[in-house]
Structures are given as structure tokens and as C-alpha cells.
Amino acid sequence: MNLHEYQSKRRFDKYNIPVPRGDIASTPEEARQIARELGGSVVVKAQVLVGGRGKAGGVKLAQNADEAEELARQILGMSIKGHIVHKVLIDPAANIVNEIYLGITNDRQTGCAVMMSSSEGGVEIEQVAHENPNAIIREQIGPSLGLRDYQARNIANAINLPREHWAAFTAIAQALYRCYTDSDATLAEINPLVITGDGTLLALDGKMIIDDNALFRQKELAEMRDTSAEPEAERIARKAGLTYVKLPGQIGCMVNGAGLAMTTMDMIKLYGGEGIGPANFLDIGGGAQADRVAAALRIILSDPNVKAILFNIFGGITRGDEVAHGILQALDEVKTDLPMIIRLAGTNSEEGLEIIREANLSNIHSAATLTEGAKKAIAAARGEL
């Protein structure tokens, strides 16, 4: 789960990481009010859960409250890569001497957290990683020891931070690590961390991603989820415990297991050729029960592009009879004439196929293998079944 910039920075503030004393506005008038209270020039920043907002014109400098209002008016409601701007952050403009990158993420290779820093702040770390990988300093953080002060000093030394900033830098690094850990974050990033004209460090921009699997114990953070920009179908899927990603094709896919779901998409692409593709990724998860299957089907049917549906269920923990019940239950609620190709295998698949057969629905076709299922679904999408 991604946090907005302002949410991340408020969280940082709780850990005593210095952040600009700005505030959030939902209307141009609020923006003016905040800018007036801050005094001086301010930055108006679109709050969207997507990168590249600067290039898209979502971040602007205003000299005074009038300008802030005007810019907020332009930015609010703007669409940035499909995300509508509902809120802007009004921060006082900072006197920037130098920009640093400081972030923490999980490292798959070592199985532990890694703090990354670079003297080249303000640009995307992926870009630095690409163009000048040596500019990124990494310190592994063992979970039992946590970040040690000497590790922060190692970083400060390696990025050639002037020594007068070491104490402040170490405090910020420690705070960021605590914030990352306490929040079950998979990313906590200050970019840029700036040295200001008066010689202090300031977290000008912040980003946090919270581990979805840990939201059960992060109630406060879970409530911060901004669903206003989220597509309806994905929101419903999430609530039903499904993983759904909308794609531009015509064949709705319902599969159990991420690997098999991707494979099913791959097969549609492989055999479908130009103009035919999967309409979604949808993993009903392990042990999916009837009501979850029904929810999944409703989501697929809500996509007007869908011309055919391919069910590919290979039961392990998921049982074929429950999937069959789920399909019938959903079809009972959401009527459809779309052709459906059902491929059931694995645990209780015989029982499941029997249940489907007994329902005797004319738009349901069965397939014995994944390849056959994919080919039949493609034919159905083309109206050739």
C-alpha cells in the first residue's frame, strides 16, 4: 500500500525527522489560506500515488498566496497518468544548498533491510542505479541489531557529507529506520533530503510503501489508504481478498495461483496473436471458497471489454467443487450470456465438473488442458466457438 507524500511526511514528523511545516488542501481557497499562513513563497504539490508528477506539471512554485490559489486551481482535478489529483500539499519553499537521497527497502538477495544513500538526491533512485550505480551507497541492516550509528557514519563518509551534518544525518537515518520498521514498510524514502541555506537537514519529499501483509497490525496506516484514485474493480477485488489487475484485452481470466494466472495470460498472448489478449490478471488465491469465486466473477463481468471468460483452476489447496459452486452462485446473481470456458483439474475436480455439468448451462464449455482452454477462449472471443 502506497502512502501519499503528505502522509509519509507526517509519519516522518512523528519520528522527529525534520519536514517542511506545510499543510494539505482540497480546494484552491484552502491552498490560499495555508499559503498565507506560511508566508513567503510556497510549493504546490499534487498528491497522487504515481511517479513523474513534476514532469506532468503537478508541482509548481508560487510566490504568494494568490499564486498558490491559482496554481492549486490548475492542479486539483488534473489527471496524472490516470490518477486524479484530489489534494495538494502546500509546503514553504526551501532554500536548497544540496540534495541527498536516503531510503530503506527490503533486499531480497540478503533477506534483510538495506539503507541506500546517494549524494545525487532529487532524482529517481532507479535512474541513479542505472546511470551511476556506484553513486549508491548501501548498508545492510540485520533485523536483530537494527541500524547502528556507525553504519550511518559509514554512509555519511561515503557520500562525502560535510562533517558538521553527521550528527543530524545519523539522527535522521535512525529515525527513518525506526519509522520503516514500526510501520512494516517495504520502502521508506526521503528524496531529496536537503541541506538548507541555514545549514540544517530537511526531508523535502517522502515516500512510504506499507507491506499489505502487515496491515492487520497497522490499523492506523491501513486507514490511510486512499481509495479515491483506485479503480472500482480493484477496490472490490481487494476487499474480497483477490488479486486483480485490469489489462486491455478481451478474455477475462480467473485462475488460482499467481504463477498459473500469469501462465494463462501468457498462453492467451501466445496463441491469440494480434488483437487478442487477457482482460485481466486475477488470482483467486489458495483455498478460495465459493463467495470469493463469485466476487471474482462479478468483477470480470463488470469489464465491458470482456468477450469470453476462461476459468483455469488446478486445485491443490483450492477445491474444484467449491469453485464450481462459486461460479454457479455468481451466475445466479449476475446473469450473462458470455461464453465461458472452464478447465478444472486437481483436488476435487471431478466433483466440480459434475456440479457444472448438472447445472446444464449452454454458454459453458469445458476444456481438458490449459492449451485447449486458451485456444477455446480465443475462439470464443473471436465469436468462432
Partner: protein, 289 residues
Amino acid sequence: MAILLDRNSRVLVQGITGREGKFHSGQMIEYGTAVVGGVTPGKGGEWVHGKPVFDTVRACVEATEANVSMILVPAPFAGDAIFEAIDSGIKLIVCLTEGIPVRDMMRVYEYLRHSDSRLIGPNCPGLLTPGEAAKVGFMPNYVGKPGHVGVVSKSGTLTYETVAAMSARGLGQTTCVGIGGDPIIGTTFVDVLQMFEDDAETEKVVLMGEIGGRAEVDAAEFIKAKMTKPVVAFIAGSSAPAGTRMGHAGAIIEGGEGTAQEKIAALRSAGVRIAENPEQIPDLLLEGD
């Protein structure tokens, strides 16, 4: 022979009294696995499928001499369940639980590295050794068949798919290992490839990967440097758009790293034959002869 699991494996199930725990232990017993007991704190003294339930892993191990633990407890408790298994001297721990927070797994991973235990998973389908009638996990009982191909996979259902296709063509397996697709797992492709390379009974190996991370690239490097046995692979997700998370925490392409294309290229350059469709895997295995 086989790897990891054989007829001497004595399996305890952490979470045996739960809905899934009960069902899958039943399936395992039916398959022939020596399930010797289970653990659910607070339910010691009960019985499931005629097997005794204990309050602690230690008590279960003392009473049953279990040497393998299958963990199927809810995600919030799974980290502790792994610690308990390690501390109770279990050498092979198979954690099926999905959705364990990464922070918990980082602590588990650190502890595990300094222990004598091996963890398979979490969020994995488990192990199957058809020739020894031994199963730990979710793999459907009928998919396997005794034989000489080792199978290792990140994915669950994709594995069943492939193994079933192999068995249908008469290509049996020594052991099928689902390592799981989470960002932090106990046993990697490389670990399992090494075991198959060392296993006298395994003649060929099938590897099933997917987008995200670089485990398949590590596997390719290992195969190039160390493996003498032929390997056939399939990588799921060639149609996935970049930057999109596909279910598994693992299945996301990060900053241009971890695409199916790049993994396939690495594996090809290590001499691995690549299937375009998992149902082609039997063909590639047979072609080699």
C-alpha cells in the same frame, strides 16, 4: 533415493486442527505420508485423523520423533511457528502459509541462517516424492508418478499443471519442490538444483520460474558453472506489463529487472531448454533422449 523427503520422514503438522490443516493432513495420510502428530496451542490431547495433537512442537517431537514440520497456521502466527520448529530441532520445515509480513520473514531468515534447519517456503505448495509415497503440502495426490525428473518451482498450481502433464506422458519425478514466490524464502532454486545434481536418482531437472527478482538468473549462473544434468525451464509472466504486481509479492518487474525475457536469455545461455508452454515440458524432456 530422492531429495528432502522420503519414507523415513515423520511429519508433524503445526495448525493441524484448522480447516485446511485437517483437510491436507488427511490427504497426506491417504497418500502414504507418515503424519505422526500435530500441534495447536490449547488443543493438546485432541486427535485428528487418529494422530495426537500437542500444545507445543517440543512435546510433539518428544512423543512422536517427528523430523519434518508442515506449517499451516494463520500468517500472524507463522513466524513464531517457524521459530518454534527450529528451536525444537526440526531439520526440515515446510511453511505453506501465505501472507506473512516481510518484517517477520526477515527475522526468521536471520535466525534460520544460523540454525541447522532448512525451511521450504513460505507461501509454497510443499514437497512431493512419489517414489516414496511421501507428500508434505498441497500438491494433489494424483499428479505425481515415481521417476527420475526433479522438479523445482516458485509457483504452486503451475507446478501441479506441469507435473500432471509429465506424469500423463510417463515422465515420473524423484521429488517435486515448490520453493514459493515470496521475496524472502528459506530455500532457493540454487539450493534445490544442487540437491538434484547430487541425487543419484535424478536424471533431469525441470525448473519453473516467473517474473520478478533474480532467482532464475542466479539459477542460470549455477547451472552454467556446476550442473551436469539437463535442465528444462518455463518462465511465467512473459505477457505481464512492467511495474505491475501480479499477485505474488515476487511477481513484479522492478525497474526493468526481472523480466521473463531476461531470465529466459540467462537460462538459454546456460544451456537450459525453454518451454513456451508448460505443456511442452514433457516434449522437451523426451527430446533430450
